[in-house]
Every structure is written in C-alpha cells, then in structure tokens.
C-alpha cells in the first residue's frame, strides 16, 4: 500500500506546541497535551450537545404554545368561559329582569338637556326617559297626553311641558306611500310636488323626475325623526353618552342585553361542551370496540355508521327537537344521538391501525393484559386526533344550537341563548340593530376562537409536521 500523505495541512503542529508550552484549563489541557491519546469511552458522548428529548405531549404543547393565534384563541375561550360563569353571579340584573319602561334603549344615548341637571332621552317610540348626565336611566317622564291627530306627545318634566312632535317624519312616510302608489301606476314623481322635500335641502330642481327609491333613502337617512321642545323652546340633542344602566342596551321587554348575552354564553358553551363530551364518550366507546375487536363485529358496526352518516343529520336534529320539545336538554340529546358518528369513525380508524403496530404486539408478547394495552398503549395514542375532533365539535355544536334556536327550536323564554337572542332581535332589526349586533359579535368571536384553537391543536398534533 502506498504511503498516505496529508493533502491539506491544518496548523495542528503549532497549536500542539503552544499547548504543550502552556497547559491551561484541565479540559483542553488534556486534549492539548495528548491529542493522539485514545478518547476515554465516557467522554465520547460527554460533551455532545443534544436536543432535549420531549415526550409527545410536551412536544405538542411546545408547538401549540409557539402558535400565537391559538394561544390568543385559548385566552379568549378561557375569558369567555369565566365571564359566562361568574358575571351573572354578581351583575346587577338577572337575565329575566324586565322593565318595560326602559324597553329598547340602545347602548348610546342622544340626550337633551332640559335643566341644569335634568337630561332626557327620547326613544324611537317617542317615549321620554329621564337620564343623568352620566347616562344612568332614572325614570319615565310623566305623560300628559298623546295627541294622535297632530302626532305630538306631551310630557311634563319639573312642572314644565316637554313636547315631542313627530309629525314631519310621520307625514313624510304617509306621503311616501302615496308616491310609491303613484310610481307603481307608471307616473313620474317631480321633486317639486314632494312636500317633505321642502323642509330639506337637496340638489334637485322643481321639475326633476325622482324615483320613489331615492326619496325613501332621503327620508330614512336625512329627515329628523322628531322635534323636541321644552318650555316652548325647541332644543337639540345636547350630547351622546353611553348607556350607564344597560351597557349593551336593553331588549324589547326592557331586559339587559349584556347579561342576556352572558347568560346565553352559558347556554351555548354548555351545549358545546356537553355535546362534545357525550359524542366523545359514545364515539370512543363505539369506535374503540369496533376497532379493537375488528372482524365481523366491526363490519356490522361500521355498516350502521355508514347508514347513520348518510342520513342528513341536521334534519334529524330538527326532528328530534320537534319530538322532545324545545329546551336545553333536548338540544344536547338531539346532537348527541346524531353527531357521534364522525368521532366513532376516527377512533375506529386509529385503533385499527394502532392495533396492528409493533409496539402493541410487543406489549402482547411481554404478557400485558388487554386492559393494560388499551389504557397504556391505545388510548393515549388515540387521544390526539380525538382531541382535535372534539375541539372542532364544540363550535359546530354551538353553531347548531344557534341555528335551532333561530328557527324557534332552542331554549324557551325567558332563558336565552345566542341563537334566541338573534332571533328576538330579528323583528326590530331596522330600528334596533344593536340587539342583534352584540349577541352575534360575541357568538362569532367565540366560535372563531374555538376554530382557531382547534386549527392550532390540529397543527400541533399532526405527526406530519413533527420534525
């Protein structure tokens, strides 16, 4: 064999010499003094920097925690759950407290100043409510008379008359109906002939042809609804304050929307969690049995699942609700008997593939009991996809609950869920959009949080993403 020679000469010689001249810290000195000594067996791995080895759960948690959106979503969910539990306990009103005097009061109030410290808010039904400067609702103003012919409400506040004249808008609307009828007959509407336009500045010439639709938009958006005069003097809105009594306003029966939304959160979250939990139990049980025992039993059980899953479920939830009657328990029950199928499929597929894996066989060979194999080996490995599926079922159950409540099959009054709140608000939507806005907003945020969290959980548990 030819003598090998070094091709690239690293400056080892010098280093070695230097080191020999001045032996420094023990570790490097040992190497420097004797670079050609055999490495001690114990030191081979001693200094190897290696990744900390993480368990599956730790790894998932680590990945989940790095996902900022899911952590934020988790915080939102936690906040929602805590508010739903605790806020109704100490809030000033209960979800069923009514005060018809204070019905349909929005969260933002345009208030009129009558006196030094007397303020009044006029509702959309022309009721006068005395309020404090800060926005606390105090009482209804005393009604003196309701003049239906002249379209005027007269109240008395502090011994002086408060007059609310809503004739302009009212007459405009009446006129609008005539104009619409005119248009339907195919006649042109000229700007000059429209009476309510006289009181309002506009860019049309007298004989411009205008459409009823354009007029309606002006009427709805530009015309003042009413004129307020106090002690024979016309006054304008003083300022806008937040409703201090009902922070999110009140509904058509004068109930606090905030607390009803919180109470609705209880219902919706309860439905979500319970449905997911019951589906989990049924699904894991059913799927676990089918998957673990396999064979003919599995075949039969899965045919049943196939048939159940090809039945459109929403129809059956509705049908069961019809049979059981509206109510919280019925919703949970209806969802539980219909939505377990997906979970059963997931669990079965997982168990089936895990059962064939070597580690289960190894456990069997080592003499582990069926129970131990199930608890120690199968269930922990199934948990990942099952948890993802559960976290997706919660928002979908909440969705279904809202859906059912919305078509009138949800919890019954005075109880509230987000769906019934939205349904209640639907009637007065054009006048009181806030009644729809708050429950819809809270519901959407919560469902969004659940969706984002389950997305994050899925990504964290996905073995394909693990490196």
């Amino acid at each position: 064999m030819a003598k090998l020679h070094q091709t690239k000469t690293p400056p080892i010689q010098e280093q070695v010499l230097q080191a020999q001249a001045s032996p420094s810290a023990s570790e490097s000195a040992e190497y420097m003094s004797n670079p050609w000594d055999f490495l001690d067996e114990s030191r081979k791995d001693a200094e190897e920097i290696s990744r900390k080895s993480l368990t599956y759960a730790q790894d998932c948690w680590f990945r989940l925690r790095r996902n900022k959106t899911s952590m934020l979503a988790l915080c939102v969910i936690a906040l929602m759950v805590l508010s739903a539990i605790f806020i109704p306990l100490f809030w000033g009103y209960s979800y069923e407290d009514q005060n018809l005097n204070f019905a349909n009061i929005p969260p933002k109030l345009d208030i009129y100043q009558l006196d030094e410290d007397t303020y009044v808010y006029i509702t959309k039904e022309y009721k006068a409510v005395l309020v404090s400067e800060k926005g606390d609702l105090l009482e209804m103003a005393q009604l003196v008379n309701d003049d239906k012919t002249n379209r005027i409400y007269r109240y008395e506040v502090g011994g002086k008359p408060l007059v609310i004249d809503y004739s302009i808008y009212f007459n405009a609307r009446k006129e609008m109906q005539q104009l619409e009828a005119l248009e339907r007959k195919g006649k042109d509407i000229l700007a000059g002939q429209v009476r309510f336009l006289q009181k309002y500045e506009h860019s049309w010439e007298k004989d411009d042809v205008v459409s009823a639709h354009e007029l309606e938009l002006i009427m709805e958006n530009k015309l003042t609804r009413f004129e307020v005069s106090y002690d024979s003097q016309v006054i304008t809105a003083h300022k806008t304050v937040s409703n201090h009594t009902y922070i999110w306003g009140s509904d058509s029966l004068g109930r606090d929307i905030f607390i009803r939304v919180m109470y609705g959160a209880r219902m919706s979250l309860l439905v979500g969690f319970m449905a997911a939990l019951i589906n989990f139990v049924i699904g894991v049980f059913y799927g676990g049995i089918a998957g673990y025992f396999g064979g003919r039993l599995d075949n039969v059980m899965m045919r049943v699942v196939d048939i159940v899953s090809s039945i459109p479920m929403m129809l059956y939830v509705i049908l069961i609700m019809v049979v059981l009657g509206p109510g919280l328990q019925s919703i949970i029950l209806a969802m539980s008997v219909t939505y377990w199928v997906d979970m059963a499929r997931i669990v079965r597929a997982q168990v089936l593939s895990l059962r064939e894996q070597e580690f289960v066989m190894a456990a069997q060979l080592l003499g582990a009991s069926t129970k131990r194999i199930l608890i120690k080996h199968l269930i922990p490995n199934v948990m990942g996809p099952v948890m993802v599926s559960m976290s997706m079922q919660i928002p979908s159950a909440m969705f279904t609950e809202a859906f059912l409540s919305f078509i009138g099959l949800g919890v019954s009054a005075p109880q509230a869920s987000w769906g019934t709140l939205c349904n209640d608000a639907l009637m007065g939507l054009s006048s009181y959009p806030y009644q729809m806005f708050y429950p819809a907003l809270v519901m959407s945020i919560t469902i969004l949080a659940f969706n984002l969290f389950s997305d994050g959980l899925r990504d964290a548990l996905d073995p394909k993403l693990r490196k």
Partner: protein, 339 residues
C-alpha cells in the same frame, strides 16, 4: 482518462427548521466522469439523498443550498435560472426515486407520464412520443409494452413500476442518471433484476450513474467508485476494490462488518453501536468520533482533513496522520475486513 461531466464542490445544504439550522450536508466534493458509475453509501440521515436533490435543485422548503458549486460541463447549476434548470432536469440529468409506489402519479396512465416527459424535451409528435415510450418500456423488460402503456400505476407491481420509472427517466437519453435508493422498497429478487438493468443500460447508453443507497451490497455490483457518507460529509472515497478490500476509515470498516456474507456460515455480524450525530449541532470534530472504537482526543476537537493517496483513495480520518499512534486492531482491518 475520461472527461469530468459533473463536479460537486464544497456543497453545503441546510434545513431551516423551527429548532434551528440543520446542516444536512457540510461541504461535500466529488466528481463524476463520463460513462462512470459511482455509488454514494451511508445510513439514513447521512445526507446522501439531500446531495442528489441538491444537484437536481429539487429541495423543498425549508431545505436550501447554502454554499458550494455544482458544475455540469463546467457550468454552475446553482446559478441557472429555473428555466435553464428545467432543461437540465430530465434531459441532461434524470432521476429515479426510492419508492416506486408513490413516485408515479396515480391518476394518469404510465404511457401518459412517459410521453409527457418526451414531449417536454424532444421535438416529437405525440405518435412518435408514444413509439418512443413503447420502445423504452420494451427496453426495461416490460412485456407487451403497447398494452401496458395504457395501465395506471396501481395496476403495476412494485418491480414493474420501478422499471417504468427507469424507462421514463431514460426516455430522453440523459447524460447522468441519479438513482436514489432505487431498490430499497423492492423484494430482494427484484432488486437484483433492477440493479442489473441499471448496469446494463449504463453500459449500453454510455451514461453516467450516481447510485445512492444504504446498502453496500447494492453498489458492489454496479459502481466503479464508491463514496461513503456520514454526518453530512464524505468519509471515504475510493474504487470498488479500495473500499471493499482496503478500507481505511473505521466507519467503512464498520459498514463492511455489518453486511452478511453468503459463503461464511459462522461469521458474526458486528453492528456499529450508537446513533448518528445531531446535525442541528454538528460536532466540532469527526462526526463518527462518538461511535468509533479508535477515537482519539483530537477526533473530538478537530475535523480531520482528507488524507489522499496517488490512486485517488481519500479518507477523512486522523488515524492516517503520520503522528497517529500505531493501532494494531486498526492496521489489521486495513487489509480488508472480509479477508
């Protein structure tokens, strides 16, 4: 001496994961001559597949070539535009992959997939492409190729599919064929057939081949030169006889000791103990240090240089240094572990 067709020079490739940079290849250099067939051997994670994907520039995010050059006929492929690179892939360098089961698109017929490649690179009509595809399938030994052309991949067996893959790869007569573990997913008997096929085509078509495998037995038959990779580095490079009969690197020796021999009934297989290094934090010294039975202090601290002899046998190991002590066990194995 034949011409160099492909030169890989100080290639470095890393994967940028959320844990940090994993340095999969840490400075690999080798060259491929015209008509030559070389083998890259190493265990999983040694960087051999990443090397081939780097050459083809097929690395997927988060993998990235971070340094070095890959020269095809003297031109650096790393500076090619994607357009130019497409001309290289398939036409100049073709590749076949490990798993024939998943390497073909399940929703198109075999014929469609072969013709597609021919039409991409050759100025032929569909009819001519079809004829070429039939010819290629026949060449790789698929019976009644006209009919088989109309089959879907799932209607082929594993070995047949790999043959079809080879037919496809060779359909544009590439200058270089990179075969990445072409036989790993196949039965032993089929393995031999496929290897023989690759060898035959290599000779017939005067094509250069890079065969990547973890199995020394596979390269023994086919390759003239062998590169042993470990921890993202080439540990030893030599001709077939140098590697098999005069191994110099303890890792190569370990690999040789761990393959069974049919002749010797009483031979014991000796595994290499330990696990490969973590390339997220590559060791400062020799990557094999922690598993090497001849490891010295210097091995842990300093990466060895290549020690080369006149025949082109190069080894990255401190034991070959003139200063290294005489180790009897090592010197014994130098003569070839199989003797």
């Amino acid at each position: 001496m034949s011409r160099k067709i492909l030169e890989v020079d100080q290639l470095r490739t890393s994967f940028f994961t959320h844990l940090g940079e994993v340095q999969a290849i840490r400075g690999v250099s080798f060259c491929l001559n015209e008509g030559e067939s070389i083998g890259i051997v190493g265990e999983s994670g040694s960087g051999k597949s990443v090397t081939s994907l780097s050459i083809m520039r097929l690395l997927q995010h988060p993998g990235k070539v971070v340094g070095g050059e890959i020269r095809l006929h003297g031109e650096n492929l790393l500076q090619y535009t994607p357009q130019q690179m497409r001309k290289v892939r398939g036409e100049k360098i073709a590749m076949i992959f490990q798993d024939p089961m998943t390497s073909m698109n399940p929703v198109y017929t075999i014929g469609n997939q072969i013709e597609e490649m021919i039409l991409e690179h050759k100025n032929l009509t569909k009819q001519e492409a079809r004829e070429r595809a039939v010819e290629m399938l026949g060449m790789v030994g698929i019976p009644s190729p006209e009919q088989r052309l109309k089959n879907y991949p799932h209607e082929f067996s594993g070995g047949m599919r790999q043959r079809a893959m080879i037919a496809m790869a060779l359909s544009c007569s590439p200058q270089i064929l990179i075969a990445d573990e072409p036989t790993t997913a196949l039965d032993v008997t089929i393995q031999a057939q496929i290897l023989r096929l690759i060898k035959k085509l290599n000779e017939e078509m005067n094509m250069s081949t890079i065969l990547i495998t973890h199995d020394l037995g596979v390269v023994a038959d086919v390759c003239q030169r062998i590169l042993v990779m470990y921890g993202g580095l080439i540990m030893e490079e030599g001709t077939r006889s140098q590697i098999f009969y005069h191994p110099r690197h303890p890792y190569t020796m370990g690999l040789l000791k761990s393959i069974p021999k049919a002749s010797d009934q009483k031979q014991r297989l000796i595994p290499i103990l330990g696990t490969p290094p973590d390339l997220l934090h590559p060791p400062a010294g020799c990557p094999f240090c922690s598993r090497c039975s001849f490891a010295m202090n210097i091995c842990r601290e300093k990466q060895p240089p290549y020690f080369k002899d006149a025949d082109g046998h190069r080894v990255m190991c401190w034991l070959l240094s003139e200063e290294a002590p005489y180790v009897e066990a090592y010197e014994k194995q130098k003569g070839g572990v199989r003797a």
